[in-house]
Symmetry: C2
Subunit: 263 residues, 2 copies
Amino acid sequence: MHPFDAAVALESVGEGTYAGRTSPSYNNMVGPFGGITAASFVRAIELHPDCQGTPVSLTVNFAGPVAEGDFEISARPVRTNRSNQHWYLELTQNGVVATTATAVFGSRRETWDNIEATVPDVPSPADTNQGGLPDAIAWAQNYEMRFVAGALSDQESADSTETLWIRDTPPRPMDFAALTSLSDVFYPRIFQRLGKYVPAGTISLTTHYFATPEDLEQHSDGYVLGTARARRFHQGYFDQTAELWTEGGILLATSHQMVYYKV
Amino acid sequence: MHPFDAAVALESVGEGTYAGRTSPSYNNMVGPFGGITAASFVRAIELHPDCQGTPVSLTVNFAGPVAEGDFEISARPVRTNRSNQHWYLELTQNGVVATTATAVFGSRRETWDNIEATVPDVPSPADTNQGGLPDAIAWAQNYEMRFVAGALSDQESADSTETLWIRDTPPRPMDFAALTSLSDVFYPRIFQRLGKYVPAGTISLTTHYFATPEDLEQHSDGYVLGTARARRFHQGYFDQTAELWTEGGILLATSHQMVYYKV
């Protein structure tokens, strides 16, 4: 089993209730990587017998620390329409809510179609040196990272843009859980601006999905081009917006987060 | 009373439960303007006796149509921490969920601060002609709109960018409810691309707040510069990301939505 699948594995333990366990290989500096928690919410919905469609939007609010060990996810379909479905989810440990989420799943159909955003003009993965994040960041060791811009550094930067080629290592065919996790792989933009670590943590993560199941099947285990930047750092919160592209120039998803920081 | 305040007025009818009524003057083509619904959620939290801090992030999922008439909002503080608070809310009509939301409120403090995004280079409000949306769009009549780019038109456009100066008419001092409403004032980007109306509706709206209460007090009833664009239109869903700036070049908030469309 791929470590990612082990990390997002859930067991049904009641109506809309799923038991999971944090996976040390997807830990962040403190507690699990937010992307793996977000991915676990998607997996919970996918396992729910009433699930219809695939992800359109997911918002995960990191309400408190997730301790290493067991957790439960409750997933409730709040409303099901003909073409979309709305969910509310909570991750609890010993009855205490650590994370909440809402999700919209939907069905898709052919219609007028256009990619308006511009894919960053970058060298191919083969022409980009392999990099990574320090060993202390366990989750990052499950990703092959090739930085085009914004590799972790001790230099201040006026530009918060991080752009990298990324894929699972070992490679793994893309699915919605994995795409969700990728939407949170960008280290906090404040580190890049200041050239140093400061206390920072995602408080709210929204992922918007363009990819259909067919898009993901076609992408398979290829590289994803991720790019992220911040707009404003203000009184303890900054944002970062990210785009996730295929090597062929298809925009799979975007993500938008608010991050707590302290300098 | 300003029509906006009438539209977001709520009455406490039980623990964390608030009764409201849709306001015809903030109707959209069908049902209430999404921005006013989003603003009502913010108002519900502000009215809650346990409310701490001011908005950091709000995600509103439009699960079904809101009929004209009475509604109830339930607001539950899921978790309260020292510096932030996490909410889950539902808007119901006759016991049926029409809209859900999660919110993060937080306290702010002085720290390292930077606006990295660039304010659009545009003429002043005084040098921009007054425009607007058709009379059929009731809510838009409560806003003074001066379009710099992307005024509603019957011409196709390769660029989905809408940029406008906007403020309440009559003018009204800004608060978080009003800022929330502004985060949804951009008409569906698909109309601009295709130069025509097609069925379209926001399915999920996330607003990220940078503004502090002091920022809003300083801004008062000044013009806001709003700019929005889409990245991709695909199989029935497109996104739009917006920025809301003060005339002095302060980024007050951003918003990110997924919109259903049919061509």
